[in-house]
C-alpha cells in the first residue's frame, strides 16, 4: 500500500474533511470542491450537519438531500438521515416507503434515533453509495468535527461487529471496502497553528489509525500568519521600539499603536510557529510509529481580508491549489 509517491489528493473519490470547530473546516471543504470542479471534475459537496454554511460559501440558498448545482461542476447537498433511510429502503430493498410502509419507516427511523450508530451508517452509507455508483468524480464531505469524526468513520465497522448476519451486514461490507481503500477514500484534517487545534489533530491522527480503516491523506493548516520581520530586522525593530517618542515626533502623531501592533503580530506568529513545528514533528513520529507515510501538510495563509463568503473561500482555494501544485 505504501507507494513511494502519495496519490494526488483530488484524484481520490471520497474526501472527508474534518477539523476542530472554528478552524475553517467548511471553507476548506468548499475550496477543495471548487478546485476539483475547476479541473473539470463533477463534484458532490455534502454538508453533514445541515447548517447551510456550505451552500452559503457559494452564495447559494440552503440545499437539501437531493442537492443542487451551485456553480458549474459543484453539486451541494445536505445530509438528512431520514431521507437517506428512505432512499436506502427504496433502492436496496425495493420497498417504496412513502406509500406502503409508512409506519415501518417511522419505526426504523426511531431505531435509528435510539441506536446512534444507525444514524452514522446512514450518513456514511449514502456517501459511499454515491462513490460506488460513480455518480460523481469526487465526493467532498464537510464531515463531523474532530470530536465526532472517528465514530462516524468507524460506524460501518462498529455495526459489522454488532450485526453478524443479514442485509445490513452485507451492506457494511462494501462500505468498508470503499472506506478502507486509500486510493479512493481519504480524510483531510483542518487545523490552525494554535495549541488546542494542534493537540486535537495529533490525537485524531492516532485515533483514525487505531479505530478506523480510513487514511489521513492530508493536514491543512489554516490561518498561518506571515512572518513579519526577516533576518536581523527584529533587532532593528527593537531599536525603533525603544525610540518610539522620536518616531512619534517625526510622524506628528502617536506611533505607540503601530509599534504595539507589530509587537503583537510578532509574538502571535512566534507562538504559532511553535505549534506548527509541534504538529509537523507529531505527524512524523505518529506515522513512523506505524510504519506509514507522513500525510502532507498544506498551508493556507491568514487572510487579511474584509470578505467572508465566496470571495474568501476562493482565496483559500487559490492557496490550497498552490500547495497542491495545481
Amino acid at each position: 500500500m505504501a507507494d513511494a509517491r502519495p496519490l494526488p489528493l483530488l484524484d481520490r473519490r471520497l474526501l472527508f474533511v474534518t477539523g476542530k470547530g472554528g478552524t475553517g473546516k467548511t471553507t476548506v471543504a468548499a475550496a477543495l470542491a471548487q478546485l476539483a470542479a475547476g479541473r473539470g471534475k463533477h463534484v458532490l459537496a455534502c454538508e453533514v450537519d445541515a447548517k447551510g454554511d456550505l451552500a452559503a460559501l457559494f452564495e447559494a440558498a440552503p440545499t437539501d438531500f437531493a442537492g443542487r448545482e451551485v456553480e458549474p461542476g459543484v453539486v451541494v447537498m445536505s445530509m438528512d438521515t431520514e431521507a437517506s433511510l428512505r432512499e436506502y429502503l427504496k433502492l436496496q430493498l425495493r420497498i417504496p416507503v412513502a406509500t406502503r410502509l409508512g409506519p415501518l419507516a417511522r419505526a426504523l427511523d426511531f431505531v435509528a434515533a435510539a441506536a446512534p450508530g444507525v444514524r452514522e451508517i446512514l450518513t456514511v452509507g449514502k456517501l459511499c453509495y454515491e462513490v460506488r455508483e460513480r455518480n460523481y468524480d469526487l465526493v467532498v464531505v464537510d464531515a463531523a468535527a474532530t470530536g465526532h469524526i472517528v465514530s462516524q468513520l468507524a460506524a460501518p465497522q462498529a455495526i459489522n461487529d454488532l450485526v453478524k448476519v443479514g442485509l445490513i451486514r452485507s451492506q457494511t461490507d462494501w462500505m468498508l471496502e470503499i472506506l478502507s481503500d486509500p486510493r479512493r477514500t481519504g480524510l483531510v484534517a483542518v487545523t490552525t497553528p494554535e495549541e488546542m487545534p494542534v493537540n486535537e489533530t495529533l490525537e485524531l491522527a492516532g485515533r483514525v489509525r487505531a479505530e478506523t480503516t480510513v487514511e489521513l491523506s492530508a493536514v491543512v493548516v489554516n490561518r498561518v500568519l506571515p512572518e513579519l520581520f526577516g533576518l536581523h530586522e527584529e533587532e532593528v525593530f527593537d531599536d525603533v521600539y525603544a525610540h518610539a517618542e522620536e518616531l512619534s515626533k517625526l510622524l506628528g502623531g502617536d506611533s505607540g499603536p503601530l509599534l504595539e501592533g507589530a509587537r503583537l503580530a510578532v509574538t502571535m506568529r512566534r507562538t504559532r510557529a511553535g505549534h506548527l513545528q509541534r504538529l509537523r514533528e507529531g505527524l512524523v513520529s505518529d506515522a513512523e510509529s506505524a510504519g506509514a507515510m507522513t500525510p502532507p501538510v498544506l498551508y493556507v495563509p491568514y487572510l487579511f481580508s474584509r470578505a467572508h463568503g465566496l470571495r474568501s473561500m476562493r482565496q483559500v482555494a487559490a492557496a490550497l491549489g498552490e500547495e497542491l501544485g495545481l
Binding site: A107, G117, E203, P257, E260
Partner: protein, 407 residues
Amino acid sequence: MGEPGPQPDDPAPPGRPKEGTLDGLVASKEIVIACGPGGVGKTTTAAATAAMAAYHHGDRVLVLTIDPARRLADALGLTSNGRGHGLGNSERRIPDEVFRDATGNSPRGELWAAMLDTKESWDALVRRHAPDARTRDKILANPLYRNISGRFVQSHDYIAMERLYELHAQGKYDLIVVDTPPTRNAIDFLDAPARMSDFFSSRLLRWLTASYRSRVMNLASRPFYQVADRILGTDFLADIAEFFILFQSMYAGFVERAEAVTRLLSDWRTTFLVVSTLEATPVREAEYFARALVARKLPLGAIVLNKVLPTYFRDRDAGSLAEQLRDGAGSVADRLAGSLGTDPSLTARVLQEVAESFLNFGVVARREAEQQAELATRPEVLASVPFFDADIVDMEGLLRLGATMWS
C-alpha cells in the same frame, strides 16, 4: 435576578463584585454554563471563570468539563501535551500551590475540577435506576447499550446535564461552572433531557417492545419484524428489543430525573455564558444560540467575546499614521538614522513592514467590529477578552484572562 445590590448605607467594600459585570453575575449564581460554537475558547473561559471565583470570591468552586480532548487538563496545567489523563470522573482539588506559584497568594476559596467520563456516568445512571440487580447486569452487558454509552458521542449531551444535576444536588459546591460538549448543533444539549424523557414515554417504543416481548406476532407488528429481521438480522434485533425492554424498567426514574435536570437549567440560580469569537460563523451561531436561550426562557447571563483584536487597530488617527509611514518609510528612516545607528534602508524596510502589518490587522479589526454589531441579542453582561499573544496554559494565564473578563 440575583442578590439585592449594595444598600445606600452599606458602602461596598473594595473588591466586592460589581453589578453589571461578569464578576457580579457569577457571584450571584450557583451554576454557570459556558456554551457556544466550537473552537472559541469555551473550555478556557469556563476554567478562568471558575479560577477567578475560587481565587477572589472565596467560594468552593467546581469546574466540570466534558470535552473528549481533555482540554481542561491542559489549561490547568495537569498534563503536558493534551493527551490528558488522571482527571477521571471524580472531582479533584487543584492544589493551592498552583495559585501560589501563579500569584504569590493562596486562593480565598477552593478550586475543584472534574472531567466527564461518559461511559462511567451512564453506568452509574443505570446502577441508580435499575429496579434490580439482574436487570442492571443485563443492561450493562447488552451490546447495544455498551455501544451507545461508550462509542457514540451524542450520548454526551444528556449525560453532561445529568452529571451537572447530580453534582449540584450533592450541595458540596458554592458554584459549578460547566463547559458544554462540542455538539453538532450548539443547542442540542439543551434539548437532551427533554428528548430523553420523550424517548422513554414514547408510545411507539412501548408498542415496539410490548409486541416483541410477548412474541405473539400480532397483525400490527408482524410485517415490521419480518422486514426488520431481513435488514438487521435476528440477533441484532433481539439486542435492540432487549435494550428497549430493559431500559423501560427504568422509565419512571429516568423521566423524573430528566425533568429535574430541565428545571435546574431554567432555575434562577443558573446562568448561561455564550462564548464566541468575532469570526463570522461563530458569531452567527452564538447569536442563534442566544436567541434559543431567550426563546426557552433560559437565563442568558453574558456573552463573552474571545480573542478580540485590540481596539487601537481601528483607531482612525493611527490608521492614517500607518499610511503615512508606509508611504514615507524611506525619509523617516533617514531622519531616524542618527539615533538608531543602523542602515537606513534596513530601517525603512522594517518601518514599512510595521505600517503594512498595522493596516492589515486594521482590516480584520474592522471586520470584527462589524460582526460585533451583528449581535442583536443583549445579555446582562457583554464581556470582551483581548487576543492574548501567548497561549493560556497555566493558572497565571487563566487568572490573567479572567481579570480581563471580570471588569
